[in-house]
């Protein structure tokens, strides 16, 4: 294959690593700038008040409060890379374990929503694009406009109100039934509890991809080769599958990979409304409770996901589209 391909990959990886490092520095700086007193947050105000000056100084020394920020950062980053992300103040557990549990909950939700919104969004966008200017197109466009103006948390509230409170079809919150042991929770239970949050996330995720696909579709439909195919009598699904699909699918897939950040952000809000114990809810709890180690770790984990998505998008572009592969990264 092409000699540029590995270079392209390597460049992307290096850039990603640099970005993650920078994000960790910025995050650390922000946490450092926070007016929350580290001693007080760790020990608690009452305990701190009853301590003698000497004990305090010892504690300060133990935690390295007086070392320079750079040293603090280096020691934190070093531990972080070795897998020791510190101890969460809220959960009184190693951050690694908290994140592992929350992330598995969240991933379940986000993957479901991601796939669903991708498929639906693409279908709607393609439909609208092929019928540009007709009623279907107008409806889909209107839907997208309204949805992109709707805050995810309000949509979650509405769904919760209708389906959980009025109709009672779905549980009001949490990811597992209350009062059941962890071993007794079945996959069906988990899916049942994730339906509403995942639905909310998908509904909000659709508009972006649908609008994008629509634009591309209109562009493709105006091209010469489609005109030619139409002249030969191709239409409907056949026209879509044989002619238009390839040109539209690629940008849609890459966009969807690049939109992981938005699903992540949406999940923060949705999890909060449904009290779904995922990463987003943990982030809010950590923010409100000044749980710095947990908040920093969540930031970096989510950044890794976002960059992973971007990287996947870039690679996909290269794999699928021969023009980009050949053109290399010179542009």
């Amino acid at each position: 294959m092409n000699r540029r391909w590995p270079v392209f990959l390597l460049k992307n990886l290096v850039r990603m690593t640099l970005l993650v490092i920078c994000i960790s520095i910025v995050t650390f700086g922000l946490m450092k700038a926070s007016p929350v007193d580290p001693l007080q947050a760790n020990v608690g105000q009452a305990a701190l008040g009853s301590m003698s000056q000497e004990q305090r100084e010892k504690l300060e020394e133990y935690w390295g409060v007086n070392t320079s920020p750079v040293e603090q950062y280096l020691s934190w980053a070093g531990d972080f890379i070795r897998g020791d992300m510190g101890t969460s103040l809220l959960y009184r557990q190693p951050v690694t374990r908290v994140i592992a549990v929350k992330l598995s909950n969240s991933l379940f939700l986000m993957v479901m929503a991601w796939i669903l919104s991708g498929i639906l969004g693409f279908a709607l966008g393609a439909l609208a694009g092929m019928n540009q200017g007709r009623l279907v197109d107008k409806c889909i466009k209107g839907y997208c406009l309204v949805i992109s103006s709707t805050p995810a948390f309000w949509l979650a509230l509405l769904l919760l109100m209708v389906f959980a409170v009025w109709l009672g079809w779905f549980p009001i919150g949490l990811s597992v039934p209350i009062g059941v042991e962890a071993s007794g929770v079945t996959l069906a239970d988990r899916i049942y509890h994730a339906v509403l949050p995942a639905l909310t996330l998908s509904i909000t995720g659709i508009s972006n991809i649908a609008l994008h696909t629509r634009e591309k579709m209109i562009e493709v439909m105006g091209s010469d080769y489609i005109l030619f195919a139409r002249m030969r009598g191709e239409k409907g699904l056949r026209l879509l599958r044989r002619y238009a699909l390839r040109g539209v699918l690629l940008p849609a897939v890459t966009l969807h990979f690049a939109s992981i950040s938005e699903i992540f952000g949406g999940s923060v809000l949705v999890e909060q409304v449904f009290s779904y114990p995922g990463l987003g809810q943990a982030a809010v709890a950590a923010g409100l409770g000044s749980d710095m180690p947990l908040l920093m770790a969540i930031t970096i984990v989510s950044a890794l996901f976002v960059f992973g998505g971007n990287l996947a998008a870039n690679i996909l572009y290269g794999v699928i589209d021969p023009r980009i592969r050949r053109g290399g990264t010179a542009e």
Binding site: V20, A33, V146, P151, W154, L158, E262, V268, A303, V306
Partner: protein, 274 residues
């Protein structure tokens, strides 16, 4: 069915959205006092003629609270959109005209900010500034520029190759002269549209962050707080507490979109003749 030509309809849309937003803003600012009044003789009234949005568990008029919250959100939106747009314009032009080094630094910065999910970034900034109104405003205004900056950068890069810029360069004009005299006027329409289209994002993010409990106290009824309070009373069947404020919020954001789109149609020379 169609009333007037397209230009008139676009202008009507623009006028309507502007009026609506102005009314919300002014009415909201005027109802600061009514929004605070608690009256236990009128607790939990469902929507009726006198209280179109109903009242809450403290007997506060939800219509006044919603309007007050929305007007605050709009102000925060205006402020942050202005700051973000200014940052985006400067960075976008710098990155496209000041050579490769500046470009890669700014691109890196854009990627950096876009790398963290937006809500999470707002939470981080809010925590760093000690959670409060200030944290929310600063957070929202400092984080909305990357997408617009990217747009402007792409536009300037395209512009840079156009003949009239090339000629100006051959004539020996300086970089700043070209950027200010030749590129800026070309960018202004796009810039204004981008600015208006920043509002919806800013407002949605502001309401989201306050909904999560960062920033504004319950004394200042921002729309996010009104809704997060409503959430606590949702299970008891007080649906109007969440429904109407949310609807009005959605409508406000839609109005901003309409405004942006109308402006785009009016300013973009490609669509003038349609």
């Amino acid at each position: 069915m169609k009333m007037g030509n397209r230009r008139i309809r676009v202008l009507a849309g623009l006028g309507f959205s502007l009026t609506f937003l102005a009314v919300v803003c002014i009415w909201g600012s005027l109802s600061t006092e009514t929004a605070r009044v608690t009256d236990f003789s009128r607790v939990n009234i469902p929507p009726c003629l006198r209280y179109p949005f109903g009242t809450d568990w403290l007997g506060r008029d939800m219509l006044a609270r919603t309007l007050k919250g929305l007007s605050m959100s709009i102000w925060i939106g205006i402020l942050s959109a202005a700051v973000s747009a200014a940052v985006a314009l400067v960075l976008g032009i710098t990155s496209a005209t000041m050579g490769k080094a500046a470009d890669s630094v700014i691109s890196f910065l854009i990627d950096l900010i876009m790398g963290v999910p937006h809500i999470l970034l707002l939470i981080l900034i809010s925590v760093a500034l000690g959670k409060g109104l200030r944290g929310v405003i600063i957070g929202v205004s400092l984080t909305h520029w990357p997408s617009l900056a990217r747009l402007i950068r792409a536009e300037v890069i395209q512009l840079r190759e156009s003949p009239y810029i090339q000629i100006a360069r051959r004539l020996g004009k300086g970089r700043w002269y070209i950027a200010g005299k030749h590129m800026l006027p070309h960018l202004i329409p796009q810039f204004i549209v981008g600015l208006v289209l920043l509002f919806p994002h800013a407002i949605l993010h502001e309401s989201s962050v306050t909904f999560l409990g960062f920033g504004l106290s319950t004394e200042q009824p921002a729309i996010g707080i009104v809704l997060s309070e409503a959430m606590k009373y949702l299970v008891t069947g007080k649906w109007w507490l969440a429904l109407f404020p949310g609807l009005l919020l959605v409508f406000t954001v839609v109005m901003f979109y309409v405004m942006g789109e109308s402006l785009r149609k009016l300013l973009d020379p490609n669509s003038v003749h349609q």
